[in-house]
C-alpha cells in the first residue's frame, strides 16, 4: 500500500475533481460522437447484470405479489361481483364469437382465402427497468435458447407493449410504446381510419394525424396497422379515451407498469428500424470474436 502524507493526499484530491469534471465532459462528447461504442458498453453491462437481475426477480416478484394479494383481499367482494358481471358479458361475446367464427370459416371456404401464417413467438422475462427519468423501456433476459433481433414486436398477455431496440448477448432492450420516441401506425377498428400513436412518457399515448372528418371517438378499439411494414395488421393496442384537454389518447391493453413476461414475436417484417440502428451492424448477426 502506498502511504501518502496528508497534505499531498489533499492536494491530489483537490486536483482530481477538476480533472474528473473535464473527463465527464469527455464522456458526454464520447456519448455523442460514438453512439455505437456506448451502446455496446451498455449492452455488455446489461448482459453482465442480467443473471443477477434474474435471481433478484424472484424475491422482488414475491414482494410485488404479496402487496397485490393484500390489496385484492381488501376488495374481494366487489371484485367477485365485477367478475360475475364480466363473466355474463363474456359468455354473450363467446356465443357471438363462435357464430362469427363459423360464418368466417364458411365465407373463407367460398373465397379461397389464404390465411396469414401463425406467428412464432418466444416468451422472455422482464428483468430490469431500462428507462430512466426521460424514457420508457425495459430489459428482458435472453440467452442461447432465446434469440431476439432488432425490430421484433413485444406483447404482454393483453396487447402491444413495445419493440426490441437493442440486443446484447444475454439481454435485450424493449422500447415501450409510451416512450416519447415511439411512433406506432394504428388503425381505429370501427372506422378503419389510420392514425399515428405517439408516446408521451405518460401512461396514455396520444393519437395524431387521423384523416380529416374521422375524429377518433371515445371507446374505439385501436389495433396496429400494417403500413410501413413494421407491425402486422390487427395486433390489439388499446381503446380511445378523450384526455383532459379533449385530445384523443389510447388506454393501452398492455399493463406497462407491471410487466413481468413479454412475448417476443417474429413476424418476418423488415420495416423501419429506429433511425440510429440503420447504419449499424446487427450485433446478433456479427460473428463472435
Amino acid at each position: 500500500m502506498i502511504r501518502l502524507s496528508v497534505p499531498l493526499r489533499q492536494a491530489l484530491a483537490r486536483l482530481s475533481v477538476p480533472v474528473l469534471i473535464a473527463a465527464a465532459f469527455g464522456t458526454m462528447l464520447l456519448g455523442k460522437a460514438d453512439a455505437l461504442f456506448v451502446e455496446r458498453t451498455r449492452m455488455a453491462l446489461a448482459d453482465l447484470l442480467a443473471p443477477l437481475y434474474s435471481v433478484a426477480a424472484e424475491p422482488i416478484g414475491a414482494v410485488r405479489q404479496a402487496v397485490g394479494e393484500a390489496r385484492m383481499l381488501l376488495d374481494l367482494r366487489g371484485e367477485a361481483a365485477r367478475l360475475r358481471e364480466e363473466n355474463d358479458r363474456l359468455h354473450r361475446w363467446q356465443a357471438a364469437a363462435l357464430a362469427l367464427e363459423a360464418e368466417n370459416a364458411l365465407l373463407r371456404r367460398q373465397l379461397s382465402f389464404v390465411p396469414d401464417p401463425a406467428p412464432q413467438f418466444r416468451t422472455a422475462r422482464v428483468v430490469a427497468d431500462a428507462g430512466g427519468t426521460y424514457a420508457r423501456a425495459v430489459l428482458i433476459s435472453t440467452g442461447p435458447f432465446l434469440q431476439v433481433q432488432k425490430g421484433q414486436v413485444a406483447l404482454d398477455e393483453r396487447g402491444l407493449a413495445g419493440r426490441v431496440t437493442e440486443v446484447g448477448a444475454r439481454s435485450a432492450r424493449i422500447l415501450l410504446v409510451t416512450d416519447m420516441n415511439s411512433r406506432i401506425p394504428v388503425v381505429l377498428e370501427g372506422s378503419r381510419a389510420r392514425a399515428i400513436m405517439v408516446g408521451t412518457n405518460g401512461a396514455r399515448p396520444r393519437l395524431q394525424h387521423w384523416p380529416s372528418g374521422m375524429q377518433p371517438q371515445e371507446g374505439d378499439r385501436v389495433v396496429t396497422s400494417a403500413e410501413s411494414a413494421t407491425f402486422p395488421a390487427g395486433l390489439p393496442v388499446g381503446v380511445v379515451r378523450l384526455g383532459e384537454t379533449g385530445w384523443p389518447e389510447v388506454e393501452l391493453f398492455a399493463q406497462l407498469d407491471r410487466l413481468d413476461l413479454l412475448r417476443i414475436f417474429e413476424f418476418g417484417l423488415a420495416g423501419i428500424l429506429p433511425p440510429e440502428a440503420v447504419a449499424r451492424p446487427d450485433p446478433a448477426a456479427r460473428p463472435r470474436r
Partner: protein
C-alpha cells in the same frame, strides 16, 4: 468483511483488510443499491435518487471513502444502467461531490433536518442540471412531469436511506475506535 484467521499469523494484514473493507463499503453499497434500484418494481426511476443520496451522504460524512473517482464511477454506472445520454450522471454526481466536500465543515455538524434541507437544495440543482443537460444533449425539451416526480422521489427517499447509511457510518466509527 475480514474473516477470522489464525490470530498469531499476521494481525497487520487482517487490520489492513478490515480497513480496506471499511473504506470500500460506501461505494460498494451504493453501487449495489443502484443495481437493485434498476429492478422493475413499477416505480418511476429510483436510480438517480439512490446514487445522489449515496454520493451526497458519504461525501459529507466519510469523504475519504467517497473520493472523486468513486463519484465518477457511480455516475458512469448510473448513465449506463439508465440508458440516459452518457455524461449527465457523471457530471451531476461529481458536482454534488465537490459541493458537499466544500460544505462539509458546516453541514456535518448540523442536525438531520438541516442536512436534509441542504440535500433538498442539492436535489433541486441536480435534477435541474440533469433536465438541462438532457435537453441539450437530446436537442429537444424533455417533459417536466417526470423531472418533478424524480425530484420528489429524490427528496423523499433520502431519510430512509440516510438512516441506513448513518447506522453503517456509526458502526464503522465504532470499529475504528476499537482498532
Amino acid at each position: 468483511m475480514a474473516r477470522k484467521g489464525r490470530p498469531a499469523s499476521a494481525p497487520g494484514l487482517l487490520a489492513r483488510l478490515d480497513a480496506l473493507a471499511r473504506s470500500a463499503a460506501p461505494s460498494v453499497t451504493t453501487v449495489a443499491a443502484m443495481i437493485l434500484a434498476a429492478a422493475p418494481v413499477g416505480l418511476p426511476s429510483l436510480l438517480p435518487a439512490v446514487s445522489l443520496a449515496g454520493v451526497f451522504f458519504w461525501s459529507l460524512f466519510r469523504p475519504a471513502s467517497m473520493p472523486a473517482p468513486a463519484a465518477f464511477g457511480i455516475g458512469l454506472l448510473q448513465d449506463l444502467l439508465g440508458f440516459a445520454p452518457l455524461g449527465i450522471g457523471v457530471l451531476t454526481l461529481l458536482l454534488v461531490h465537490a459541493a458537499a466536500l466544500r460544505l462539509r465543515r458546516v453541514l456535518a455538524k448540523q442536525s438531520f433536518l438541516l442536512v436534509w434541507l441542504a440535500y433538498c437544495g442539492f436535489a433541486v440543482l441536480a435534477v435541474g442540471l440533469g433536465y438541462t443537460l438532457q435537453a441539450l444533449l437530446g436537442w429537444q425539451a424533455p417533459p417536466t412531469v417526470p423531472a418533478i416526480a424524480q425530484l420528489g422521489l429524490t427528496i423523499g427517499i433520502y431519510p430512509p436511506l440516510a438512516w441506513l447509511m448513518a447506522r453503517g457510518h456509526r458502526a464503522m466509527q465504532r470499529a475504528e475506535a476499537l482498532a
